[in-house]
Amino acid sequence: MPKLDIVGVSKAYGNIVALDDVTLHVRDREYVCILGPSGCGKSTLIKCVAGIEKPDHGQILIDDESVRDMAVEDRWIGYVFQEIALFPHLSVRDNLSYGLAVRRASGDRITTVANEMLDLIEMRDRAKSYPKELSGGAQQKVAVARAIATGSHLFLLDEPLGALDALVRAELRYDLKRLAVDLGLTVIHVTHDQEEALSIADRIVIMKRGRIVEVGKPSEIYLLPKRLFTENFVGETNLLEGRIVETGHASCLVQLNSHKIELKGRGRSITERVIVSVRPESIVLASRSGERNDRWEGLIKQAAFLGSITRYVVQVEGEPDLIVHVPSTGQIGGFRVGDRVDLLLDNSEHMLLFDYPKAGLNDETALG
C-alpha cells in the first residue's frame, strides 16, 4: 500500500541540472507515467527514488518515511528497466525464485510463489525454458514477475517496453496495467511513448529539462493541456501564430497571417500575441466548392495512407502547411496530390489557444 512523495528534489551532474526542484505526490495503487523527451530527467528521478542516485536537495518519502538513509534493498522497491536483465544461466522458474532464495525463504514458500508468478504471466509451460529461448516480450514479462515475486508493492519501470517490437509493446502494456491493478501495486512508469502513457496511466507527468511541466489525467493531457509544450509533445498538432483582434463574451477572434479564426477563450486582450493549436484530426477536408467564404482554400501537397487514417499535408495561402488526418473509408480513394480542397476549421471545440511563449515558439516546443 505504498504512497510516494517527492518533495523539492534537485540533482546536478557537474553544471548540468538533471532535476530542478521536482515535487510529485503519487497515491497508493496509482499508475503514474512520466513522459518526456530524452534528457528531460525522467530516469534520474526514478533512480533517486530507487536509491541508485542521491538527490542534492529535497526529500523522498515512502509511506511518509524519509528514505534518505535507507539502503537500496531496504526500500522494498521493484525495479525493471529497458535492458532485460534476467540471469541467462537460470531457468524461468529459477529466475522467479531468485529473490526469495536470497532472502532465505523456505523451499515450499519459494515453490508456491514461483507457481503464482508463472500463472500470473501465463507462462507455466515455459517454466523450464532459459531466457534466450524466449522472445523479448516474454523475457520482459519474466523480469516484471521476478520483481513482483519479491513482495514489493512499489514499482519503478524505466522504459520497460523500450527494447520490444512495436506490436508486442502495444500488447504488453495492457498486461502490465492489468497486473498492477489486480495486485494493487503503485507504479511509476517512465516512457517516451505518448500512446503508451495515454493508454495505461491514471495520471501522466510531463517533464522537460529537469522540471515537471504539468500533471494530469490522460484525457486532460491530450485534450486540455495547460502548456503549449504538452500540446505539441503529446500527439501531432498544427501551431499557428496570431494576434487577438476582437474579444466577445466567451470567445475571441484571432488574426492569423492571412485568415481569421474564432475561438473559445475569455480574459484575452486586443493585440495580445497567441498561438492557436489545431489537431490534425479536427480539420475537415472537402472538395473545392467556391460557395462558402468561411472555408480556407488549400492544395494537397502530400498524401500518405496510414491505415485507419490518411495523412495529408495541405498548403494554405499565407499560413504554414497544415497536417490533416482523415479517417480512411476502407477503400482506395480520397484526395490526391495536387487536388484543390476546402478546409473546415469551424470545430472550435478542438482548437486551443495558448499565450505566446516568452522564450519563443521554438524554445517552448523544443524536444530537449
Binding site: P37, E281, L306
Partner: protein, 368 residues
C-alpha cells in the same frame, strides 16, 4: 538511383536460413521499407545489398548488372547500420562533411552540404560538438545525416530512427522521405515500426523467417494483405475462427463460434472449409441498440482505452470471441462504458478472409 534486383537469393548462417530464396525488384528512385519482427532477416537482407555479406545462392543486380562479385566499397551504396560508428575525434559537422570531401567536393561545398543535412535532422545547434558529447538519439541522427550527405545513389538504412524518442521519430520520418524524394536516390529502409513503414514507403516488403510474405504499396498491404501474419503486423485486427457455410457468386457466408453468421467478400473457397476472418478495428461500428441487419453481432464492452485522437473498445461478443473497435474521438468521456451491452457491425467489404493456417492461428499472430 540504381534499381536493385534479387533473384532467388539465399543466405544461411550455420545452416539456419536467414534469407530464403528472395526474389524482388526495387525501382530506381523508389523508397522501400522492409518490415518484420526481430530475427526475420531484415538486417541480413540489407547487408546483402550493401555487399557486406555474400549470398550462398542467387544473383543480386544493380541496374540489371550482377554485383555478387563487386566489393561493398565499389557499389556506390551507403549503409547506415543500427550500430553507427562515428569518427570520435571529428566534430558533428566534420563527420557529416567527410563523405562529400571524400568524393572530391571543395571544403566550402562539403561544409555547406553538411550544414544543410544537419538542419534536416534538427542538429544545427550541435555542429561543433564531438560525438561523445551527444545522446544516443543525437548520434543516430548524425549517422543518418552522414549517410544522406554521402552522395551515394543508394541509401540503405537499418532502423535509422530506432534510437529516437517517439515524438522526434514522428517528425523526422516525414522529412526523411521528403529528402530522399527530392534527391531522387533509391532508399531501402529496415524497420519494425509499421506506422513508420506506412508513412515513408512507396512499397512495403514484409519478412518473416527470411521469407518475403508480401511486397506492395502500403494501401494494398493494409487492405488486401496476403495472410494473417501480414494483416496483424500491418495494423492489427480482430481475428475470428469460422467455417464456410455458403458460397455465392458475390459473397461467402461464414459460421463462427456460437453459430453466428458473417458475410464476407467472395473468395475461391469450398463449403465446410476452415477459415479465419479479420476485421480492422476502425471498420467496426458500435451501436447502443440491437440492430437487425447483416454482420451485426451483440456483445458487451469490456474495456475502453483512451489513445489521444482515438479511443479503443475491447468487446466480448455473446459467443465468447473478442473484437476491437477504434473510434475517432468525439469527446473526453467514453460513449460506451464497461459492462454496457452493445451491438457491433461492419460492412461485408471490410471482412478479410484467410484460409486456416496449417500451424494454427496463435502461431500466425506470434511475433517471433
Amino acid at each position: 538511383m540504381p534499381s536493385v534486383d534479387f533473384v532467388n537469393v539465399t543466405k544461411r548462417f550455420d545452416g539456419v536460413l536467414a534469407v530464403d530464396r528472395a526474389t524482388f525488384d526495387v525501382e530506381s528512385g523508389e523508397y522501400v521499407c522492409v518490415l518484420g519482427p526481430t530475427g526475420s532477416g531484415k538486417t541480413t537482407l540489407l547487408r546483402l545489398i550493401a555487399g557486406l555479406l555474400k549470398p550462398d545462392d542467387g544473383i543480386i543486380l544493380f541496374d540489371g548488372r550482377p554485383v555478387n562479385a563487386v566489393e561493398a566499397h565499389n557499389r556506390n551504396a551507403v549503409y547506415v547500420p543500427q550500430q553507427y560508428a562515428l569518427f570520435p575525434h571529428l566534430t558533428v559537422l566534420q563527420n557529416v562533411a567527410f563523405g562529400p570531401l571524400a568524393r572530391g567536393k571543395s571544403e566550402d561545398e562539403a561544409l555547406e552540404i553538411a550544414r544543410q543535412t544537419l538542419e534536416m535532422v534538427r542538429l544545427s545547434g550541435r555542429a561543433q560538438a564531438l560525438p561523445s558529447e551527444l545522446s544516443g538519439g543525437m548520434q543516430q541522427r548524425v549517422a543518418l545525416a552522414r549517410g544522406l550527405a554521402s552522395g551515394s545513389s543508394l541509401l540503405l538504412l537499418d532502423e535509422p530512427l530506432g534510437a529516437l524518442d517517439a515524438r522526434l521519430r514522428l517528425e523526422l520520418r516525414h522529412r526523411l522521405r521528403e529528402l530522399v524524394k527530392q534527391s531522387g536516390i533509391t532508399a531501402i529502409h529496415v524497420t519494425h515500426d509499421r506506422d513508420e513503414a506506412m508513412s515513408v514507403a512507396d512499397r512495403i516488403m514484409v519478412l518473416r523467417d527470411g521469407r518475403i510474405l508480401d511486397y506492395n504499396q502500403p494501401i494494398r498491404v493494409y487492405t488486401r494483405p496476403t495472410g494473417i501474419f501480414v494483416a496483424n503486423l500491418i495494423g492489427g485486427a480482430s481475428f475470428l475462427e469460422g467455417i464456410v457455410e455458403k458460397v455465392a457468386p458475390d459473397s461467402i457466408v461464414v459460421r463462427i463460434r456460437g453459430g453466428l453468421l458473417i458475410k464476407a467478400p467472395a473468395e475461391p473457397l469450398a463449403i465446410d472449409e476452415r477459415v479465419i476472418l479479420g476485421i480492422r478495428k476502425e471498420r467496426v461500428q458500435i451501436s447502443p441498440s440491437k440492430l437487425q441487419a447483416e454482420n451485426v453481432l451483440e456483445g458487451q464492452v469490456r474495456e475502453s482505452r483512451f489513445l489521444g485522437s482515438t479511443r479503443e473498445y475491447v468487446i466480448r461478443l455473446t459467443n465468447g470471441d473478442t473484437i476491437l473497435s477504434r473510434r475517432f474521438l468525439e469527446s473526453e468521456n467514453p460513449a460506451f462504458a464497461p459492462q454496457q451491452r452493445i451491438s457491433v457491425s461492419f460492412e461485408q467489404s471490410d471482412v478479410m478472409i484467410f484460409t486456416y493456417p496449417p500451424h494454427g492461428l496463435r502461431n500466425e499472430l506470434a511475433m517471433i
